[in-house]
Amino acid sequence: GQQANSLHTRAAGSVSGLHIFHKEGDHEDLAPQLVPLDYTTCPDVKVPYELIGSMPELKDNPFRQRIAQVFSEDGDGHMTLDNFLDMFSVMSEMAPRDLKAYYAFKIYDFNNDDYICAWDLEQTVTKLTRGELSAEEVSLVCEKVLDEADGDHDGRLSLEDFQNMILRAPDFLSTFHIRI
């Protein structure tokens, strides 16, 4: 079921994703000198993070760096075509909730330790408010979040805690969504 879903979302996102990768309609090609038009020999082309981060869909997103890092091969933000397609499939309308929750967890886990700890939360809140909240307010928010969502009370959110919390959110599906 879930495998089929992932394939379906990939199928749906794949053609438009390829379209963007090669040529963005009115916009310039993302990286014409890098991306070959012929993929039958499956070359290993990587688009650097700077280009990805300047895409119109992502340039205003405070988490664009984390998104690129999560979906890239080596976690450095440089993406191949496969990574690119994966990213848009997961962020598309048709991806299942569990898949989105899994990737949301990875995006918000800044230090990649498979847990969202207090430091990750501080980073998230600071990025969300562009540093307009005072340090005391930020730490209060992080405390409240851990209070609410940390089920096993180990001071950090595991994937289970996160999923348990996010799958009940009414706005999660409509906000964690990029349309291409």
Partner: protein, 727 residues
């Protein structure tokens, strides 16, 4: 299931393997298969020929096999039997899947199957892409979404969905009612009902008359009155009256189905939205809208998120300050009182306008100015425009949380528009009853007129056989008032005036205001853009409600004016382009960004309610009012639904008619109704029970989570104490 990038990639690989043809050219495949089979079998050196293969290398330093005794011999026998069985299973598997291995008889058929499967998968994918590309206005909506956020875009998504529904209604009415009558029915001028009466002929083609949908527009396929009541028309024997009736019922049924389907699809997404358990967590992880692609909107979003956090923090920190409860209650009561006054006032105003329009109808149309002719429609549109601002003003007294205030505002606007609609219908019913009374008089007159005509006809025969043949032009025949056409005309006029009011409001309220603010800002004392009046924000709820109510009018009027869905299609089409342009050009994103997700089912619920309330008057009119005697497809019948009985008698074999007559036996009907009522009651009880069980489980989960938290806290405290004690 744990998802990972590797999993995604392996899924892809799996599919590749399944779909691509295996290029097996060598013996390797079958021997590989055998090797795999062999892996399952225990390696008994003594029974196998020693084949030197890399996987099968037996270490020559292994000890000699031990001498056999009774037990080991029995064990060996058992092993051998087991191995033989497994060998037989493996052989069966291989022979069944020979084709897949590229070997044996099944190869070509299997290759063909694989190729077809691949082609089919490709075709499906292309078809999906084609369907996605066919969805109209996707780029426009994406542009709006990235600039204004998901809540404004939800209005345009709703508009597009309505367009689809109306398209289906239009196709039904056009192809099954208007087209057959146009192609196979009698042409204009052949029957009295299809001709403009002699008295009106002179002005029939004037623009003013056509704009009012009188004159030539009235006597055309656009309205009910044009249709002939012959049972079949054309060489195909198309049964027009039956088709008219059935299409009317089908439109209503289809609309119900589609709205209910949309609602049930959205219910799954809601899932307990009033939870406060994860307030801050949801604020942190779901408040950023990933759709935003515009720096100004992103700015607004950042600000609103910061505001949101600050408010939540102050709420969390501050103690419950006891506000002056009595003052607040009094102010709220006052506000509701004012709202009531406004609703009552608007209802009375509409009733008065309708009465006046009836008086005007009695007078000579040339003595009336433009305002008098369109008074009622203008009154309704203007009320719909200004009362919501009044409600907004009264809401200032109430001091509710913005989301709750929004709900109250929506509810009040809904009540206003509903009240207006129903007063309009009541006035219309009044008018209909008048016309039915009038009809009786006209009928009496016609018998007299007919008697005169017969006398003249006989006289013309007896006097002069070479005189001109006696002929009465259809335009000279006295006509009965056709109340159905009148109803259709009222709804069409209302729709048209609504459209014009909306467009004029947008042009003046949004566009001119934006121009004024933009260009006069250079020579004005205060900053027009940031102070008053500044640019308008897009009023989502007002627009959605207007859309819903217009659709209600379409549903009510389309039985009497088959052209109404077509007019609505035109309207929605132009609305889409016009409002998209207006939004991008003159509006600014809302300062306080509200999410649209929770409201979606709210709007659909209102649409369902309006659908139900709109079809009730229509059904009442069909069932209880007698159709006009000289216009429309049901003329001459006692009631409109008798066309079904007529069809059953004439077109179905007699035994079927007998069966259906038995079925309409009151005893049977009562039994069926009873069963349905019981079924509804049972389903309701089940649903309630399940909801209660659901809540119970949720509560249990909460309790469990709390307990866990307490326990973990205690353990953590104990651990800390132990650690401190040890130190």
């Amino acid at each position: 299931v744990e998802w990972s990038g590797e999993c995604l990639r392996s899924c892809r690989r799996e599919v590749q393997i399944k779909v691509e043809e295996k290029e097996d050219e060598t013996e390797e495949s079958s021997s590989e298969e055998e090797e795999e089979v062999e892996d399952k079998l225990p390696r008994r050196e003594s029974l196998r020929p020693k084949r030197k293969r890399t996987r099968d290398v037996i270490n020559e330093d292994d000890p000699e096999p031990e001498p056999e005794d009774e037990e080991t011999r029995k064990a060996r026998e058992k092993e051998r039997r087991r191995r033989l069985k497994r060998g037989a299973e493996a052989k069966k598997f291989v022979s069944e899947n020979e084709g897949a291995l590229g070997k044996g008889k099944g190869k070509r058929w299997f290759a063909f199957k694989m190729m077809m499967a691949k082609k089919w998968a490709k075709f499906l994918r292309d078809f999906e892409n084609f369907k996605a590309a066919c969805v109209p206005w996707e780029n426009k909506i994406k542009a709006i979404e990235s600039q204004f956020g998901s809540s404004v875009a939800s209005y345009f998504l709703f508009l597009r969905w309505m367009y689809g529904v109306n398209m289906v209604l239009f196709i039904l009415t056009f192809s099954l009612i208007m087209l057959p009558e146009y192609l196979w029915g009698l042409p204009y001028g052949s029957l009295p009902r299809k001709t403009v009466p002699r008295a009106e002929e002179a002005s029939a083609a004037n623009f003013g008359v056509l704009y009012d949908f009188n004159g030539l527009a009235q006597y055309s396929v656009l309205f009910y009155g044009y249709y002939d009541n012959k049972r079949t028309i054309g060489w195909m024997n198309f049964r027009l009256p039956l088709s008219y009736f059935l299409v009317g019922i089908m439109c209503i049924g289809y609309s119900f189905l589609v709205v209910l389907k949309a609602m049930t699809k959205n219910i799954g997404d809601d899932g307990g939205g009033d939870d406060n358990t994860f307030n801050f967590s949801w604020k942190v992880f779901t408040s950023w809208d990933y759709l935003i692609g515009n720096p100004e909107t992103a700015d607004n979003k950042f600000n609103s998120i910061t505001m949101n956090f600050k408010e939540a923090i102050t709420e969390e920190k501050a103690a419950q300050v006891e506000e002056n409860v009595h003052l607040i209650r009094f102010l709220r009561f006052l506000a509701n009182f004012f709202v009531f006054l406004t609703l009552g006032g608007s209802g009375y105003l509409i009733f008065w306008a309708v009465k006046r329009s009836q008086e005007f109808a009695q007078q000579d149309p040339d003595t009336l100015g433009w305002w008098e002719k369109n008074e009622m429609n203008m009154v309704m549109s203007l009320l719909g425009m200004f009362c919501p601002t009044l409600f907004d003003l009264f809401a200032e007294l109430e001091d509710y949380h913005p989301l709750i205030a929004l709900k109250w505002l929506l509810g009040r606007i809904f009540a206003l528009l509903l009240g207006n609609l129903y007063v309009f219908i009541l006035a219309l019913m009044d008018e209909i009853n008048n016309k039915i009374e009038e009809e009786k008089l006209v009928k009496a007159n016609i018998t007299l007129w007919e008697a005169n005509m017969i006398k003249a006809y006989n006289a013309s025969f007896s006097e002069n056989s070479t005189g001109p043949p006696f002929f009465v032009h259809p335009a000279d025949v006295p006509r009965g008032p056709c109340w159905e056409t009148m109803v259709g005309q009222e709804f069409v006029r209302l729709t048209v005036s609504d459209v014009l009011t909306t467009y004029v409001t947008i042009l003046i309220g949004d566009f001119l205001r934006a121009c004024f603010v933009r260009f006069c800002n250079y020579c004005w004392c205060w900053d027009l853009e940031y102070g008053y009046p500044s640019y308008t924000e897009f009023d989502i709820s007002g627009n959605v409600l207007a859309l819903i109510f217009n659709q209600g009018m379409i549903w009510m009027g389309s039985f009497f004016a088959p052209s109404l869905p077509g007019i609505n299609i035109l309207r929605l089409h132009t609305s889409m382009y016009f409002q998209c342009w207006a939004v991008m050009c003159c509006n600014v994103p809302e300062a306080r960004v509200f999410k649209a997700s929770r409201s979606n089912n709210f709007y659909l619920g209102m649409l369902l309610l309006i659908l139900f309330l709109s079809t009730m008057p229509v059904l009442y009119m069909i069932v209880s009012l007698p159709p006009s005697f000289d216009c429309g497809p049901f003329s001459g019948k006692n009631r409109m639904f008798e066309v079904i009985g007529e069809t059953l008698e004439h077109d179905f074999p007699s035994w079927m008619a007998k069966i259906l007559r038995q079925l309409s036996n009151p005893g049977l009907v009562i039994a069926v109704i009873l069963v349905m009522v019981l079924a509804i009651y049972y389903l309701n009880a089940t649903a309630k029970g399940q909801k209660a069980a659901n809540l119970d489980l949720k509560k249990k989960m909460k309790m469990q989570a709390l307990e866990n938290k307490m326990r973990n806290k205690k353990m953590a405290a104990a651990r800390a104490a132990a650690a401190a004690g040890r130190q």
